[in-house]
Amino acid sequence: MATATKKKLVQWDPTDVKEELLKKYPPKVARKRAKQILINEALENETPEIQANVRTIPGIITMRGCTYAGCKGVIMGPTRDIVNLVHGPIGCSFYAWLTRRNQTNAGPDGENYMTYCFSTDMQDSDIIFGGEKKLEKAIQEAYDLFHPKSIAVFATCPVGLIGDDIHTVTRNMKEKLGDCNVYAFSCEGYKGVSQSAGHHIANNQVFRHIVGENDEVKPGKFKINLLGEYNIGGDGFEIDRILKKCGITNIATFSGNSTYDQFASAHTADLNAVMCHRSINYVADMLETKYGIPWIKVNFIGANSTAKSLRKIAEYFGDKKLIATVEKVIAEEMPEVEEVSKDVRARTTGKTVMMFVGASRAHHYQGLFNEMGMQTISAGYEFAHRDDYEGRQVIPNLKVDADSRNIEEIEVEADETRYKPRKSAKQIAALEEAGFKFKDYEGIIPDMDNDTLVIDDLNQYEAEKLVELMKPDLFCAGIKEKFSIQKLGVPMKQLHSYDSGGPYAGFKGAINFYKEIDRLVNSRVWSYMKAPWQKNPQLSASYNWE
């Protein structure tokens, strides 16, 4: 296939680029953005500091969404058997209806409400006189129609402002209905500075209202929870396939392809494997404090990371047979992966990519691109905190600002009856001795090359400038960014929804991704930008008859 030939700046100095990005801003904006744009450098045993998780600047076209989106859309969206009822005007529920590509498999006749959109469709009268009665009635109508095991209520902006007490309403309805767990999320869109606050609110309530509800012990020798995996494009299916093949039991995924019962049983697992550090690391902490389940950071994006993560889990359980099985599985899966990567590398090596997504993928996918010989020349997160950039060591000295202050932190302590350390202090020490890292995450910065640009909360204007100046072969972000980038003749891959592709996690996912990126960066279409009469406008003096 013909590759579009793009003129690369022979050499670009990152400081020039940064200057370019800031030049046009009003001083106040420029000062703020300067702290969020980092030119990476390797420092002696410390990581350069970046400003993150701060307010979006009004009027600056941002990639970010709101707290409701993070709570209802991201965290609770993928759970199939909970009726997610949005309390508010119709829009918020409509926009979160089936738009995130998190897949679920309810089987031929299992419960699945993900294809449905539930709303109280608040009208002006509700705003004026309050919406609690309507909410109560809506819960009753949902219950009468579907008899679900659980109904979750989500607040949108006006709810908080008019003071509907959704938690009381849901508590009462839970009592009234008896066999249905009803609870609410105060995830009004104006809270926090990004989706991140919504993740937090969602996870807190899941922990508070669902986790621990079912003590029944599930079968399985090596039981883990997978935290921060949302089964976009079937990622979770592929990871579950691999875990199963290794003999590892996944008790609960938070929250891809999940069910109410998985959450309820999460406390019976023996290890928490954290995929997306940002959206859920605090849940891992709480599960450890309350139930004694240790957690480790894993990454199933990229064949090598997948292998590494499997080995890490096996090492944790320290079971010879498990370790052997894991090695066997890796040995089985890798050949096809390597065959395909070898094939595509011929066409992808040396190509450059930029990534600005979420708060883990911009990091995780760098490994996958490396496997294709592609280099990440700039990256950043949409809603991360400093620890996602610099590593967890900065957590203690993160200052809590006005916006974070109101996002509830749950204080948990060991459960009287159910706290049970999965590893003794001695075992833990031994493992750490051997270099095994618990609750450890170093962030994106250390993994990136010197002089690459790390940019937090990149906006539309900066994205366009970056592409113009650095001419990457591929740009990764979300749907809002996709087409303005492609208008510039640069292929754009969505790493939130994966466009139409996936799975990209695990071994088969890696293969899918190699092929998809090969398709994108080598598509003939990028060579069609100009018409012949635009390429050579001057007319041949005489007619060119055959």
Binding site: K24, Y25, P26, R55, T56, P58, G59, I60, I61, T62, G65, C66, T67, A69, L85, G88, P89, I90, G91, C92, S93, Y95, A96, L98, T99, D109, N112, Y116, C117, S119, T120, D121, Q123, L135, K137, E141, L145, T156, C157, P158, G160, L161, E188, G189, Y190, K191, G192, A402, D403, Q460, I479, K480, K482, F483, S484, K487, L488, G489, M529, K530
Partner: protein
């Protein structure tokens, strides 16, 4: 089944909406604003609204949708969003330099009572709005009406830009309503053919169906210019297409600028197009060219040629009031049977109008305003249809019930063409017929027993 929990038995719901057939006002205001040349729409609320609207419009058009937001924080929600708006205005003009900002409110800013007109005054006073730049706003509370209402409100704000000079400009204002860029293009083509000088607003053609050429223009060539909008008050009259989408703006120009108006149906199908063209030539005193009579004849020809496949086929429809009214009339006019019709937008007028149009059908017709797709699906389970027409969300019903299905309306997230090929006018009617026949005949080719499989249809 994708919608496996939808029961055939219909129970009354007064508080719970399931699978809505509408969304909220602001997205309509944003879409309308994109029909002004050099305009940056602005959402005055928390940033999620803006993100959602941009995403939905982007998925529908596969085009970049630029819009800014006031990014409310909790503080702003308590103390008011004026500061955010002021900051936004400054940043927008500095960084993106649009000709105009078209701001709309949200449930959030409406609930706390922000007044954009007053904020604009303050901005002007403080010189935040550069010389020659414009700022307009519409009040679009999400808890009133629907996306259609928001569209109408922003169009009305455009009309409010009118600056009558007292000298008629010889133009006819045409307010197309919420139709596709391709439809607006076609309306201009038809109007030009009838020889009527006009100002069409809003006009998203050239904005949301743009080329891929290696350049990115945040503000493409298309759109109604500010100059045109200001001159609508001097026009000889206004043709407003669609009571829900366009009437308010037209009536405003009538009352405030003495520009007489006529409210027509959207020109989908034969009759509505006939009336639109007849109105054009009547108000402008021009003669309709043979070319249009020819296109009309082509549509009539195709109706007659394919009538046997359309006749007495039952149809379920869901969408927005103005579009459904015209489409229902079209279906009746080709001897089809629209029997289930739902819009999520409120308005008893709608049900009344549909009942008029369908009064001669040998069938009981179900129609509901402020209904939802859950109800439509239940109606279909109770009385099956041969064809389903609606937006992309209908695909779940179509697959479960194995129905021939034509995508038409907003949003269409899974097919291409709507942004390039019009469905208004006679040519649009041909396209609608082609699509309807396509799915009906595909079904016939799929299901006919082998001995009845037909070569010629």
């Amino acid at each position: 089944m994708l919608l496996r929990h939808t029961p055939e038995k219909i129970t009354e719901r007064s508080a719970l909406t399931i699978n809505p057939a509408k969304t909220c006002q602001p997205i309509g205001a944003m879409y309308a604003a994109l029909g002004i040349h050099g305009c940056l729409p602005h959402s005055h609320g928390s940033q999620g609204c803006c993100a959602y609207h941009r995403s939905t419009l982007t998925r529908h058009y596969k085009e970049p949708i630029s819009a800014a937001t006031s990014s409310f924080t909790e503080g702003a929600s308590v103390f008011g969003g004026q500061a955010n708006m002021m900051q936004a205005i400054n940043n927008i003009f500095t960084v993106y330099n649009p000709d105009i900002i078209a701001a709309h409110t949200t449930c959030l800013s409406e609930t706390i009572g922000d007044d954009l007109k007053q904020i604009k005054k303050k901005a002007e006073k403080e010189g935040k709005i550069p010389e020659g730049k414009e700022f307009i706003s519409a009040s679009t509370p999400s808890y009133v009406g629907s996306h259609v209402t928001g569209f109408s409100n922003m169009v009305k704000s455009m009309a409010e830009m009118a600056e009558p000079t007292g000298h008629k400009n010889g133009m006819v204002n045409i307010i197309p309503g919420w139709v596709e860029p391709s439809d607006m293009e076609e309306l201009k083509r038809i109007t030009n053919l009838v020889g009527v000088k006009h100002i069409l607003f809003p006009d998203t053609s050239g904005v949301l169906n743009g080329p891929l050429s290696g350049e990115y223009k945040m503000f493409p060539e298309g759109g109604t210019t500010i100059k045109e909008l200001k001159s609508t008050g001097d026009s000889i009259g206004t043709l407003a297409l669609g009571e829900w989408c366009s009437a308010d703006a037209a009536r405003y120009l009538d009352t405030k600028c003495k520009v007489p108006c006529s409210i027509l149906d959207m020109p989908f199908g034969l009759m509505a197009t006939d009336r639109f063209i007849d109105a054009l030539r009547t108000v402008a005193g021009t003669v309709v060219p043979e070319e249009l009579a020819f296109e009309r004849g082509q549509l009539v020809d195709m109706i007659s040629d394919m009538h046997q496949y359309l006749y007495n086929k039952k149809v379920a429809l869901v969408g927005d009031p103005d579009q459904l009214i015209a489409m229902t009339e079209f279906l009746v006019s080709i001897d089809m049977l629209p029997i289930h019709i739902v819009t999520g937008t409120p308005g008893k007028k709608f049900e009344k109008r549909i009942k008029e149009i369908t009064k001669d059908l040998p069938y009981e017709v179900n129609v509901k305003a402020k209904g939802d797709m859950f109800l439509l699906h239940q109606w279909i389970k109770n009385e099956p249809v041969d064809l389903l027409i609606g937006n992309t969300y209908c695909k779940y019903i179509a697959r479960d019930e194995d129905l021939p299905y034509v995508r038409w309306g907003f949003p269409i997230l899974d097919r291409q063409g709507h942004q390039y090929f019009p469905t208004v006018g006679y040519k649009g009617g041909l396209r609608l017929l082609e699509k309807i026949l396509g799915v009906l005949l595909d079904r016939k080719d799929r299901d006919d027993p082998e001995e009845q499989f037909e070569l010629v249809l």
